[in-house]
Amino acid sequence: MSDLVTVTIDGVEVTVPQGTLVVDAAKMIDNDIPVFCYHPKLKPVGMCRMCLVEIGVPMRDRATGEVLRNEDGSVRLNFGRGLQTACTVVVSDGMVVRTATQPVKDAREAVIEFLLTSHPLDCPICDKGGECPLQNLTMRYGRGESRFDFSNKILLDKHVPLGELIYLDRQRCIQCARCIRFQDEVVDDPVIDFHNRGRRLEIVTLSEPGFDSYWSGNTTDICPVGALTTADFRFGARPWELTSVASVCTHCPVGCNTTLDTRREAIAGGRSVIKRVMPRQNEWVNEIWICDKGRFVHHYADAPTRLKQPLVRKNGQLVEASWDEALDLVAGKLQQHKTAVAGLAGDRLSNEDLYLFQKLFREGLGSNNIDLANRRLAGGDVVAQVGLASGSNLKELGAGDAVLVVATDLHEEAPVWWLRVKQAAERGAVVVVANLRPTRLDKFATHRLHYAPGEALSTIRQLVNLAKVEMETADSDPLAAAADALIKAKNMVVFYGSEGLTYEETDALARLLANLLLVKNGEGHVGRPNNGLIPVWPHSNTQGAWDMGVHPAFAPGYKPVSEPGLRATDIYAGVADGSLKALFVIGADPVGDGLMADRGQLDFLVVQELFMTKTAELADVVLPAQSWAEREGTFTTGERRVQRYYMAIPPIGDSRPDWQILAQINERVGLGKPAFAASLVFNEIAKVVPQYKGMDYRSLARVEKQWPDVGGEDLYYGGTAHENRSGLGQQWACVAESATVERFDVAEQPVIARDGLQLVRVAALYTSGTLIEQSPVLHHRMARPTIQLAHADATALGLADDDRAEVTVNSVTYETAVRVNEQVPAGLVLLSGVPYIAGLTTAQIRKLETAVAQPTGD
């Protein structure tokens, strides 16, 4: 094949794709060329000069182009005038690389010696000590003794907060610019840069607040020295003391693979606690990056306010009780009210928990009254048919492919998906963004469709209709142009969310988008790898909740039930009007989220939770569950990848894993002996749910060699992100992969007359919630309630930038800050930093006089 070239590195021949850099080609045959500034995920710059090697190319006759040969028949090589950087030179056929010669050794020794003339020898107190590329490469290639016999090394600041999250030690910085380039090239947040020159070259933050990026933590992973450290882990532990446990992030439907680094702490009473969260390489999911929410929001696992004992209400008070007492009571009460029970689940629970929860209701109590407490996004059944096909990897999308993103702000809701769509756009994919308002993805979009409030469905319907016909004058109408670009794409991936839409509207949206994917332009865009629908679920395992049948109308595996039960809204109504007598809430806080006013006329309320939530405060029985870090389980991502996480820390108090509690209740309601391990529950799932057939904990733990080589011994190359040794997960196949899917009927949604300012709640990554509140390190970054609106609308309301306002939505009032933002379309108000609000509402905004104390910039 012509796109492969063969090079010889230290006598070993290797065949690599054209365009491969010498340093990568060497890495593929385990020839370590040391680097500091080069990183396989960044563009090469060749500034640290550590990777200098001898590179020879065959000499050719200028006239004939024939390879010149020596007398002995060997190819004559031109090694140029000196050493060349292996990180900037691209391989070419016949190239010969020498990495072990004396000049190369001398050059490496020299660079190490130079770096150490200004790098402090404070390895003993450095957080990177022990996993430091500079340290390792010095041991491996250094001279062993410095000839820099001056005691006055340059002294620079050692404690520079670049923001609340990241600290910089200027003295340790070796000016490799990895962090700067990561922020600029990879995540498009160029908020840090170099300042000054020469030995005074130093990193400064250009944003206010400092280092304002959702990705800042990743810079500490790729920093080859201890110059960048997180506020969370600073001086927390030495790397060799940490025990690493594979896990999966619990905050969004991306399902980033993480590693929990734990250590026993005297101040935690000798318990193992999570010291830091590190990314774990999974090139299918998150590559080697995680967002700062995933990195810093782990403190809830160790929070002192965690529930430790089962609580039972006696004489109006919740008092500690034994597990047997609590479970007996729960089982008894649920059976007593068999005809009037309902279950509400949160979508952060594992598949095992959710499966047993629905089993309790369907098989134990004979009720289908089970739903997600906080339903935002519909379409799970559609996704089961035309979801992103198995074998897909968003990294493979590029020129000729298309991504459609509808009604979601990926940057705030699922940052890693934003990153991957952005990178697809940079590789040449067509990105179409359809939303009420501009989002951060617009910058990378080829087509931006901003529909008017209330016109989401009609716009998408029009898009689908336009995509059917072969068009001649595509570019006249932006919608037609977008439809044309989408339908002509080789591969198409569609993301959809719920911004500004009600649950019912998202259902129609999912069906419309499925129909778009089903439009045949040749093959259609379903059932093939890198094609299909991805729902931007609100939480980490909403997909799993659909799969497990936590739905009034679907049993596990999307089997329709004969008599659908009550939906969440009906359950809330039933609680209020007394038609429901007992309610089981697990991993959700409907009262705190404003979905349920109080316990209404319930006879019995049981809440299974980590914390004493507002709902738990009203409960008759509160069952303390274990957080994800204390137990094992599986989550299913929005890409329908089932991923396994492991037990990292010992349980808090007397808490038990959710699945175990449910299994014990199930036993009490007559469902037989409980499974004694999560893996066995999963085995049962694999039997019952056809989509999960063939999966077990062992197959989920399967790994394969990934490129680039990250983690392991080679910290210098990919940074300290962990190697994946514990499982890449498995994607389950949607219907379209094996059968033909018919077009979906889409029910016409009632058109609601919209007048006046329309208010839409938009997502912010750090929106206050039960879990995030436990991480003090993020408190300064929390999204405060804010409204954004266009200048004309603001003026009409008498509002200006930095004013305070009172916003009433669905009879809940928020005090918010006011931001005048010309990016916001007229007639629209964006409300962020508040709990989820479905659909559009007519805005009721009142200016607050300045007499109200303004929170100063804390």
Binding site: R49, F114, T117, N152
Partner: protein, 428 residues
Amino acid sequence: MAHILLRHRDIENIHELDVYLAHGGYEGLKKALSIQPDEVIEVVKKSGLRGRGGAGFPTGIKWGFIPKGPGEKYVIINTDESETGTFKDRELVEKNPHQVIEGALIAAYAIGARTIYNYFRGEYMDAAYRFEEALKACYERGLLGQNILGSDFSCDFYCHYGAGAYICGEETALINSLMGNLGQPWSKPPFPAIEGLYGKPTVVNNTETLANVPPILVNGPEWYTSMGTEKSPGVKIVCMSGHVERPGNYEVEMGVTYRQLIEMAGGMRNGRKFKALLPSGGSGPVITEEALDAPMTYEGLTPYGSVMGSSSVIVMDETTDMVWAALKMVHFFRHESCGKCTPCREGTFWMEKVLSRIYHGYGTERDLQILESVANQIGGRCLCALGDFAVNPVLSTIRHFFDEYKAKVSGAGQKQQATRETAVATAD
């Protein structure tokens, strides 16, 4: 002989457009516009004109690298003249600006650029004012802007002022600086001819190079090759400074010897004896008496281990302390190192420290070895040429004047070891 570049010395007020036009100004541009761009490149190629900034790359070939076809392209004039002892471009842009503008316009026409930038050294404010006036006059007369001289060729001209960084004379650093980035060079490839300013094909030419272009167009390439030597044709402005009687710019044909240059500048000051000269400001290795009869061409000093460079000749007489001279140069390069690549950032700093210690008499034999070793660790291993420039004065003075170093580290020159560390002052 009438000046070809420094024409203001023959014609008064040639910086005014009328005067310039009256003396054959913009005839070269007219000639260029009358032929195809490819033919213009061919003429420049034939003339053998080579880059006057120091590297000596053939200008016509450089223009020829620019991809043909539509798309934005740029011409950048490099007036970031920061080399020690160099002041030729300053005189050109200040006194004879139109010749530079005309040359740049011809370059723009040849490669199909619609925009020209002139990157000025930040300290050249006076020259820049004069230059901007010239630009204004050109716009008024239709020599810049839309449809220049009634042709299809349109071109805009912008001036940019650097902030006093030597490194921004390197073309990629200059482009970075022009784009608003930190003035640091990038590792080539990509070459500016393919991906330069804003990722578009870009030609970066020295001011003096472009000033050579109009007369070549007017008089033809044969006229140009009749001057100078075969491989280094044409004329060159030499900046004479140091211990000569009359320092200043001298326009000479290529190929004159350095001895002739010193004579031209009035000989050694106060009749002292010649000791050494730096043929290319701070960046070239020093040459001694033996090389004085070498011709001033791009290749002339190769046998003596030095280069012509930008031909800014700094002459030093017998009173000069060569260790001091080397220290001065190293201090300059340490100060100007951009800090991007390790050997230059750390090595220049270390060299200055050791050299300073030796100069002040606290050095030892070992320091001499370290100095040479550090210099060798920098040379040839840096991202751009600055690192190589920085070691040139050190290695060449060690080669030619080892005795002076030797004297500093032994015998009477050497001071007490005890104060060795503390007494050494550095700029940090």
